[in-house]
């Protein structure tokens, strides 16, 4: 194995400030909730203190969004809205390095991912949706589709800036105004995005960003003057929100958990498949709702593939997220690390065979070595529950029908992967997967032009593409 000298990105680029405030009505203001301290999960040091929203702050933010909607944003021609959204896309590109470093500091993800995936894709989402703002009459929802009003949006900690972009860009393009709550453990890049929005001169109140914990999110989605709720997060919380909104007229879209099957047939190019499997489960430390966390391998190649997989996973470098050579960064929080440990222990207790990379782990911070379980059966918790960490469960199958049955044997349905050289089989499999995204001979690809979202308990509604606009239109 090659030795690598450290190649750390400078943390100064993040322009880290000691204090961050919430963004309401075009201004950065002190929230009246209990301030939170956001930490660097790779070192456990406090990065900054962030003010949070109280119930009255939530109300003020919604009022600001309503005023902006009534007075400015809903009356503005789409062609003008578009130019504001294009400005945001450009500023994200201009401040890409700052955002990438800040994201890696706050979230723990490797800089190569925040730099090459999160930030550029966030910019792409604004750029893509900007173009829709004055073309909505071509989107297939009638000649003059109307916005919904004020959108309350709650996002998770795994892709903090990217999820903010996924939520804000289509909402604005369709003519809605926004109150967004970033995740408690990763509020910083959303607040830099607020700074960008301010610099882009968006009319005050069009976008409001209010940090806080789950109670702030609950207050936001329950607020009587919110017309649209969009949530990305766990299935557990998604169900709570769907219940909360029962009987209301609020439009709801949910992007929830997953337990994706990544299916490898015996004719697949195994080396290529190994790369896809690694990307599928170890990308972003496995903190990905569409992660390929269940590997289904055709029995005849299972041993060979597993051996190749162990060799490849052994080469993954776990450590400093700011090091450009790092493959797997820090687990986002102690809480999440505890959950991953608990589930992996259950895997051992239930009789699965554990293999864990012998890579060195840093002394401080929240880290978990890449782990692969073989001899996994469908009834085990590690085959059913979302681990949301760098842990892969390997099952086997003999026939395509068995692969389909096992892949679909889950209440989730967000994504799936299929590896085979046979084109007709790919399409046959893709048709039978009860999942919103099927990657064939690739994994974890995202693009604003491609609709993304789940079947069944992985949620409803889509983000991206023409289809994604429906979530923010009164149709």
């Amino acid at each position: 194995m090659w030795e690598y000298a450290p190649a750390p990105e400078s943390r100064d680029i993040a322009n880290l400030k000691p204090n961050y405030r919430m963004f309401v009505d075009g201004k950065f203001v002190e929230g009246t909730g209990e301030p939170l301290k956001t930490i660097n999960p790779a070192t456990e040091e406090v990065l900054a203190e962030v003010s949070t929203a109280s119930a009255s702050d939530v109300d003020n933010a919604v009022k600001a969004a309503r005023r902006a909607y009534d007075r400015v944003w809903s009356k503005m021609p789409g062609s003008e809205r578009a130019k504001y959204i294009y400005r945001i896309a450009r500023q994200i590109q201009e401040r890409a390095r700052e955002l990438a470093v800040l994201e890696s500091l706050d979230n723990g993800k490797p800089i190569k991912e925040s730099r090459d995936v999160d930030v550029p894709t966030a910019a792409a989402h604004f750029f893509y949706h900007a173009g829709w703002a004055d073309k909505l009459s071509y989107a297939g929802y009638g000649p003059d589709p109307k916005p919904l009003g004020v959108a309350g949006q709650v996002i998770p900690w795994n892709f903090p800036l990217l999820m903010a972009a996924w939520k804000i860009a289509p909402a604005l393009a369709c003519g809605n105004t926004v109150v967004l709550k970033p995740a408690e453990t990763t509020p910083l890049t959303a607040l830099v995005l607020a700074d960008i929005i301010q610099q882009c001169d968006l009319p005050p109140g069009v976008v409001n960003i209010i940090p806080g914990a789950g109670d702030v999110g609950a207050a936001l989605v329950e607020h009587g003057d919110v017309n649209k709720v969009a949530f990305t997060g766990s299935t557990e919380v998604g169900k709570i929100i769907q219940r909360q909104l029962a009987g209301s007229s609020k439009k709801l879209t949910l992007e929830l958990g997953g337990k994706a099957a990544n299916i490898v047939f015996d004719d697949a190019p195994l080396d290529q498949a190994v790369e896809g499997i690694v990307n599928g489960i170890f990308f972003n430390q496995g903190h990905v709702c569409c992660a390929g966390s269940r590997l289904l391998v055709q029995e005849s190649v299972a041993d060979e593939l597993l051996e190749k997989l162990h060799v490849r996973v052994s080469t993954l470098r776990v450590g400093d997220p700011l090091d450009k050579n790092t493959d797997v960064g820090a687990i986002n929080s102690r809480e999440q690390l505890t959950k991953i440990k608990e589930l992996t222990e259950s895997g051992e207790a239930e009789g699965a065979q554990r293999w864990t990379s012998s890579c060195p782990l840093p002394d401080k911070g929240f880290f978990f070595a890449p782990t692969v379980f073989s001899n996994v059966s469908q009834a085990m918790r590690i085959a059913r529950e979302e681990i949301f960490g760098p842990v892969l469960s390997v099952l086997t199958f003999r026939t395509p029908d068995e692969a389909v049955a096992k892949a679909n044997n889950t209440p989730y349905g967000l994504s799936a992967g299929v590896w085979t050289e046979k084109g007709s089989r790919i399409l046959w499999m893709a048709q039978r997967m009860r999942a919103g995204v099927v990657w064939s001979n690739t994994f974890n690809r995202f693009d604003p032009a491609a609709p993304f979202g789940g079947y069944q308990e992985s949620g409803f509604g889509r983000e991206g593409g023409r289809t994604g606009l429906e979530a923010y239109l009164d149709v």
Partner: protein, 287 residues
């Protein structure tokens, strides 16, 4: 010629392509708008609803896997058979809804035309709602609409045939299967419609029709783990929020449309869209 005694029809449930009585053994009298007795209808139970969900689930792979062209022909066949029984439906709708024959005639004609309208949609949905996605990379990415699965439909309480057809056809046009709870007080045209479905090449289990008390059966469907979507159109006002809360238990898609929808106007695509998933498939390009 002596007056002939007519053969009175027994109205039963329609589950899995068969016409069983309610397993509960219950029935309830159905009257016309003036209170005159029309017939006894089966009073469906929780067990009937569960049987119907099983039948709908069993029918789903076949129906969703059928070609869109085939589904279009089946839906068109329903219109044909319905047209052949037009007079019977006019009489039943007039009796059920208390409308003059002329009005009933127009409602039945619209119901027949509605099947034709949706029959024509089956093989256009993917072209209109799907896409080829111009992603920034060497991949072919495309998105296709797919049926969401088993849909529980609470049919409109007022519009006994046109309303019923307007809520069933968009569900099955795209390949879903369904369990329908009919109008509680006006269930007879629905049962006669099931006779039409049974003789129109609609595979057994694709549409299952239950008569009875909406408020009694709906909660079991709303909380059923094998139901993917819920249409609240005919739900009692007092129950709507509760049903939605139950539906959240398995993240069901919920259509909140209320009774009062004007079914005489040509619909848009919203009812079709309500029961569709979008599947995006990616494949690398290269040599």
């Amino acid at each position: 010629m002596s007056d002939r005694v007519s053969v009175a029809k027994t109205y039963k449930l329609y589950i899995g392509g068969a016409f069983p009585r309610s397993e509960s053994g219950r029935s309830y009298p159905v009257t016309d708008s003036k209170g005159g007795f029309l017939a006894n209808a089966a009073q469906g139970s929780r067990k009937d609803a569960r049987d119907a969900v099983s039948a709908a689930r069993k029918a789903f792979p076949g129906w969703s896997g059928a070609t869109a062209y085939n589904r279009g022909q089946v839906l068109y066949r329903v219109a044909e058979v319905l047209e052949g029984r037009r007079e019977q439906f006019i009489t039943e709708v007039a009796a059920s809804e208390g409308v003059p024959l002329k009005k009933a005639q127009s409602l039945v004609d619209s119901a027949i035309d509605r099947w034709v309208w949706y029959a024509g949609w089956t093989d256009k949905i993917a072209a209109v709602l799907g896409s080829s996605n111009p992603v920034a990379g060497p991949y072919f990415s495309f998105s296709t609409p797919e049926p969401t699965g088993v849909v529980a439909v609470l049919a409109p309480q007022q519009s006994s045939l046109l309303g019923l057809v307007s809520v069933i056809a968009p569900v099955i046009a795209s390949g879903n299967t369904c369990v329908v709870i009919t109008s509680q007080e006006r269930p007879l045209p629905a049962i006669t419609l099931s006779e039409v479905l049974a003789t129109s090449d609609v595979p057994g289990g694709v549409v299952n029709i239950i008569t009875g008390r909406t408020a009694e059966i709906a909660p079991w469907l709303a909380s059923h783990g094998d139901v993917n979507a819920l249409d609240l159109t005919g739900a009692p006002e007092s129950l709507r929020a509760d049903l939605e809360r139950s539906a959240a238990g398995t993240v069901k898609r919920v259509l909140r449309n209320k009774t009062g929808e004007d079914f005489t106007v040509t619909p848009d695509l919203s009812r079709i869209r309500a029961y569709l998933e979008t599947k995006t498939v990616w494949h690398p390009m290269g040599v």
